[in-house]
């Protein structure tokens, strides 16, 4: 059973929007997490410093959240083998599809990019189907 939290979720979303808009207006960059992290795995380039600092900010923000409200970072109910498979899929998939929830779901749709709309609908559907199979057909998960 999960609490429905429209207000805090909307507030959090607004903050994400402000963060992404700041990066666009000031630096002219897309706040796509998978793109930024993926870029850090490639050979160092002129983009490496700002990408590293963005990820540093992300991790620092995580610490702030953890210290202020530890419960905000929830536990995972999934076993290790499944976590590894999920991680590999997320890593490979976001690079192949050029984006994730942030790059396609927020920045791309916010710019009315047809590619991002297709990508977002696709990964949302794939996510929903996976959860459905896992929870309702196989009866696993939480």
């Amino acid at each position: 059973m999960n609490d429905f939290t429209p207000l805090s979720s909307f507030a959090g979303g607004t903050l994400i929007g402000i963060a992404a808009a700041l990066l666009l207006v000031a630096n002219g960059r897309i706040a796509g997490i998978s793109g930024i992290v993926g870029g850090l795995l490639r050979r160092p380039s002129a983009d490496t410093p700002w990408r590293a600092l963005f990820v540093a900010g992300l991790l620092a923000g995580g610490l702030v959240v953890h210290l202020m409200r530890p419960a905000a970072i929830g536990p995972s109910a999934v076993g290790y083998p499944l976590l590894v498979v999920a991680g590999l899929l997320v890593g490979f998939g976001t690079q192949l599809g050029s984006g994730c929830t942030s790059g396609h779901g927020v920045c791309g749709i916010g710019r009315l990019s047809p590619r991002s709309m297709v990508a977002t609908v696709t990964f949302m559907l794939a996510g929903a189907v996976t959860t459905y199979v896992l929870r309702h057909l196989l009866g696993g998960g939480s």
Binding site: A26, W50, L53, V65, I73, L82, V85, V90, V106
Partner: protein, 253 residues
């Protein structure tokens, strides 16, 4: 300044994910589980983010450049290809399995839980595997045809320009110079070497000694040698300058 902006943006992004509930895998899975005890909260995260970004995202249409950079670095592709759809299917499946997408997973590292560390390690490995696979798939598939196409286009245009004096498909020798030719003549007056690139940054990092950035101050009888990394942009410059009547060459190498 750009670095500070990137850091602050990352920080705010993390706070937004934390406040919005994206760092609780159970909440993410409850959002994706439409057929179960559906929790639509995360649609409000996306709604809030989109509302702000949609309003501010119009800015690049109105302004020529961002505050702290020379140009906007925004994707321009509009085609829907297999990679986009297949990649999104794989990502969505992984998201539905564990309830983590890249941003919230990184933010959740702060909790120090072994589960999220394992997930992030696997995610980075997945990204790395893609790049390994992609690096092997790409060079022959993308780069060479581009170079080949620009050379064929060059020769066709050259043939047209000289009134059929050169055969299409054969690059005229006087169009190209090689690195040795260039090195031996670098200090000669009347020779202008042009760095043809999209960003000043690349020029600042490395350029041929004495090379100028963009077409500035070329005298009518100077010999101009244009170069860039792949030869594509330098080719455009070649034709603009040749059209304007300059003695221009491309550096081959």
């Amino acid at each position: 300044m750009r670095g500070l902006v990137a850091f602050v943006s990352g920080l705010l992004f993390a706070l937004g994910l934390g406040i919005g509930g994206m760092t609780q895998p159970s909440k993410v899975l409850a959002f994706l589980d439409v057929a179960g005890d559906w929790d639509p909260s995360l649609a409000f995260v996306m709604g809030g983010a989109l509302l702000v970004y949609f309003l501010v995202g119009r800015v690049p249409l109105a302004r020529p450049r961002p505050l702290f950079d020379e140009a906007f670095h925004v994707p321009t592709r509009r085609d829907i290809d297999t990679r986009l759809v297949l990649g999104s299917v794989l990502f969505g499946a992984g998201w539905g399995l564990a309830g983590y997408c890249p941003g919230p997973a990184l933010v959740s590292l702060a909790s120090g839980r072994a589960t999220v560390v394992v997930f992030v390690a696997a995610m980075l490995a997945g990204m790395w595997l893609f790049q390994r696979w992609n690096a092997r798939a790409l060079p022959s598939a993308r780069l060479r045809p581009v170079t080949a196409a620009s050379l064929v286009a060059l020769s066709v245009l050259a043939a047209a320009q000289s009134g059929g004096g050169a055969q299409a498909g054969v690059v005229r020798e006087q169009m190209l110079v090689d690195a040795g030719w260039l090195t031996s003549r670098l200090d000669r007056p009347g020779l202008v070497v042009l760095h043809v690139g999209k960003s000043r940054e690349a020029y600042d990092r490395a350029h041929v000694p004495g090379a100028r950035y963009a077409a500035l101050g070329v005298a009518p009888d100077d010999v101009v040698v244009a170069y860039c990394r792949t030869g594509v942009q330098a080719s455009y410059t070649y034709f603009v300058l040749a059209y304007l009547g300059y003695d221009v060459r491309l550096c081959d190498g």
